[in-house]
């Protein structure tokens, strides 16, 4: 058969061609556009033509596209090419990559605990003085603490998010005559009222997130510990001055369980409470828009997960109120998070990039694109693209707010990126609060 003679070489050539195109396909954003935008603001970073900085983080999809957009001008003006890679497996992979010597130039850590593990293992370079000075200028001392490990400063904060928002549909609330609760007790009463009304379930939630499945549940627990037990107990819990299975923490689990484990209260739009585990976190809020669920607990970055065109406003399609305090006299306390930008190399282009990320320019660029906020004091709140972001920025910049960083992000990574998540998963799947907190306590590293 004459045809088969040519089949093998053609097939081989085809495979080789595919492999080559796969190797060369990425990173095409080399900025060869004839953008003659004003580069004077970027003069402090110098010129580094032809240099590449690889950046690795957990941020994917729309949020990642926005991130890349926010440093496009920086790339054009300094000549640096930023090769960005986002992955949901970051928390596991960064350790693997650092150990195997293929660490990225820059890694954006969603957890200070993970940053600390990497710093203590000796892989991270301390932050350059320019960055340290910028952080002193632009952030409150609390934020600087989160990037400091054993006295050395390792990285500037990037963006921030305010956690503990409860998303709802203002139209539905108005039609049904439901009021935004001001205390936890009022919220539980509202929950019962909605459940009795039987048109929709009061809460919807989704914890599925690949390897990180379970992390939204940790946000629930932290919000309740902070509000019901207070910031001092919260700090003791996070720093392991009280054990994870302390009765106060078990009580917090049970309080959350009053909502999340109650089949009458969850899971609006998806089914029974266990469907929380099989529902992806980014889609879990959709039933609020579809009228199948009344409230969805999620951080400020949920704004990016609504379908395009959704009006996020107090009188729009969807809005959010802050999870109310248990005891009104204890004041407003909020949990929140933020990424820290750490570096594995200290070349001039990496340092230029780090300085840019700590500057008000980056914060303003990124916030203008929407769906993000920053605790950078140089950020103009009016750049916020939504009323909710503006509100979040004001909350962060208000000296009266008691702010606490997300607990699981501060705990050692063996707990905060592993056993706490898995504990939440088995808790929703039926294990008791005591069992779960016992096993998380047992997994806390003894160092």
């Amino acid at each position: 058969m004459k045809k088969t003679k040519y089949l093998l070489p053609v097939a081989t050539a085809g495979v080789l061609a595919l492999t080559l195109s796969a190797c060369s396909g990425d990173g095409g954003g080399g900025g060869s556009t004839a953008g003659s935008s004003d580069c004077s603001a970027y003069d402090t970073y110098g010129k580094h033509d032809g240099k590449t900085v690889s950046v690795y983080s957990t941020i994917v999809d729309t949020e990642a596209t926005n991130l890349e957009e926010s440093w496009k001008q920086f790339e054009q003006c300094t000549g640096i090419t930023i090769k960005y890679e986002g992955s949901k497996e970051f928390e596991t992979q960064i350790g693997v990559r650092a150990q195997s010597g293929t660490a990225p130039d820059v890694a954006i850590f969603p957890q200070p605990g993970l940053l600390a593990t990497q710093a203590r293992a000796g892989y991270l370079k301390p932050a350059p003085k320019t960055v340290s000075d910028l952080v002193d200028k632009n952030w409150s001392p609390d934020w600087k603490k989160y990037g400091t490990v054993d006295g050395t400063y390792y990285g500037a904060p990037m963006l921030a998010n305010v956690k503990g928002y409860v998303w709802y549909s203002p139209k539905t609330f108005k039609d049904k005559g439901w009021e935004v609760p001001k205390t936890w007790a009022q919220m539980m009463d509202l929950t019962k009222k909605i459940a009795d009304d039987k048109t929709m379930k009061p809460w919807c939630a989704g914890f599925e997130s690949g390897e990180a499945t379970g992390w939204p549940g940790t946000d629930w627990i932290e919000d309740v510990v902070l509000r019901a037990q207070g910031p001092e107990v919260y700090d003791q819990w996070v720093n392991h001055q009280i054990p994870f299975n302390d009765p106060k923490i078990v009580k917090a689990f049970d309080q959350v369980g009053d909502i999340l484990l109650n089949p009458a209260y969850v899971n609006g739009g998806f089914g029974d409470p266990r469907s929380i585990l099989s529902t992806a976190f980014a889609q879990a809020g959709q039933p609020v828009l579809d009228g199948q669920c009344a409230m969805h607990h999620q951080a400020s970055f949920q704004a990016a997960n609504w379908p395009a065109g959704t009006n996020v406003a107090e009188d729009g399609d969807v809005w959010a109120f802050m999870t109310p305090p248990v005891d009104e006299s204890k004041g407003t306390a909020i949990t929140g998070g933020g990424e820290t930008v750490g570096a594995y190399k200290d070349t001039p282009e990496v340092q230029a990039y780090l300085a840019f990320m700590a500057s008000a320019d980056f914060a303003n660029n990124r916030v203008k694109l929407g769906g993000a906020i920053s605790a950078n004091k140089g950020l103009d709140p009016n750049n916020a693209q939504s009323a909710l972001d503006k509100q979040s920025i004001q909350l962060l910049q208000d000296p009266k707010t008691v702010f606490r960083f997300d607990g699981s992000d501060l705990m050692p990574s063996a707990v905060g990126s592993n056993s706490f998540w898995k504990g939440i998963v088995s808790w929703i799947n039926g294990s008791s609060s005591q069992q779960v907190t016992d096993s998380i306590e047992a997994s806390w590293p003894k160092s």
């Binding site: 080789l16 080559l20 190797c23 060369s24 990173g27 928390e91 596991t92 350790g95 693997v96 593990t117 690949g210 390897e211 499945t213 379970g214 899971n267 739009g269 998806f270 089914g271 029974d272 266990r274 469907s275 585990l277 099989s278 050692p412 990574s413 063996a414 990126s417 592993n418 056993s419 898995k422 998963v425 088995s426 799947n429 997994s443 590293p445 160092s447």
Partner: protein, 321 residues
């Protein structure tokens, strides 16, 4: 475009280095004195592979075995990791799951593969039928995991179902079911995915083996009055013994290594973890490289007898022919 040029150059350089090494070996072997020529030839051609194996296989194996006796900070702790493995409930679940996988997957894949091969033997459209069953092998385990995760997708009763199976259950009037959350049946549903992939492999090899059974033997059996099932059991199966062993052992080894399916579909939660997945979780997520190494060692010990048996059978086969 400078990156394609750069990559092409790298390919050319790599090929050139490869050719150079082979050339040097051939030169040395050729120049060897006649008396030791045979030994030098063997040594010369085995050397590159042997060196790579030493560096890439033997050295890491030895290091991992030593690591299995250390704790999280690197100090020796005797057999503690193994005690943990055989007493901790989660670790025991992992071992139990691995045993279930190792028993069920080879058995089911081989049986289905064999049955399918026999039924489509000499049927019309045999090639098409074969490629249909073989296609899942072309998908990566991760891809197959994602496909089946969507097939098993669940929404509450009365809501619109997005998963194929729950959609069919709904159409038949049954309640939708969570497939991946309840142990131990969720392990069975994960096993379905692997059987789906491996049946094609078993079928293709066994089909070729069945065609290799001498026609005279089967005709002789038929003349003696044997019915189809007796023909199959007494003539065909003994005739394809070698192929059956190869298929069973290969699939068993592949099953012992299974990691992607479990990680993609459940991330090891809900009591579905297997040894390979747990080894990864312990070593890289829980910061316990000692335990990960201990699990790797156990995996190695579990695979070893199968590989030895496989090699023995193959050698006997070669002696017969």
């Amino acid at each position: 475009m400078d990156f394609i040029g750069g990559k092409l150059l790298q390919v050319v350089i790599a090929l050139a280095i490869f050719a150079a090494i082979i050339g040097i070996i051939m030169l040395v072997v050729d120049r060897a004195p006649k008396s030791v020529k045979d030994k030098v030839t063997v040594a010369g051609f085995l050397a590159p592979a042997a060196i790579l194996m030493l560096v890439g296989l033997v050295y890491p194996a030895v290091r991992t075995s030593m690591l299995a006796f250390t704790d999280a900070s690197g100090n020796g702790n005797g057999f503690d990791n193994f005690v943990w493995m055989f007493t901790q409930p989660e670790a025991l679940t992992t071992l139990r799951n691995t045993v279930i996988w190792t028993v069920l997957v080879p058995l089911l894949s081989t049986s289905f593969g064999l049955a399918y091969a026999v039924f489509i033997d000499k049927a019309r459209g045999e090639k098409v039928l074969k490629s249909l069953v073989f296609m899942p092998m072309a998908i990566s385990f991760v891809g197959a995991g994602i496909i089946w995760k969507l097939v098993y997708d669940y929404r509450g009763p009365g809501l619109e179902q997005t998963g194929v199976i729950n959609f069919l259950r709904d159409a038949l009037g049954l309640d939708p079911k969570q497939f991946l959350l309840d142990a131990p049946e969720n392990t069975i549903f994960l096993i379905v995915v692997m059987v789906w992939i491996q049946t094609g492999f078993a079928m293709v090899i066994l089909s070729a083996a069945i065609k290799g059974v001498p026609v005279e033997l089967i005709e002789a059996a038929r003349l003696d009055g044997a019915n189809a099932w007796q023909q199959f059991r007494n003539v065909t199966v003994p005739g394809i013994r070698g192929a059956l062993v190869v298929v069973l052992t290969t699939i068993t080894i592949a099953t012992l290594k299974v990691f992607d399916i479990v990680r993609t579909m459940t991330a090891g939660n809900y009591d579905t973890s297997v040894v390979a997945n747990e080894m990864y979780t312990q070593a890289f997520r829980a910061g316990e490289p000692g335990r990960g190494a201990a699990l790797a060692l156990i995996l190695f010990l579990m695979v070893l007898p199968i590989v030895v048996y496989n090699a023995r059978v193959l050698r006997k086969q070669r002696e017969i022919h």
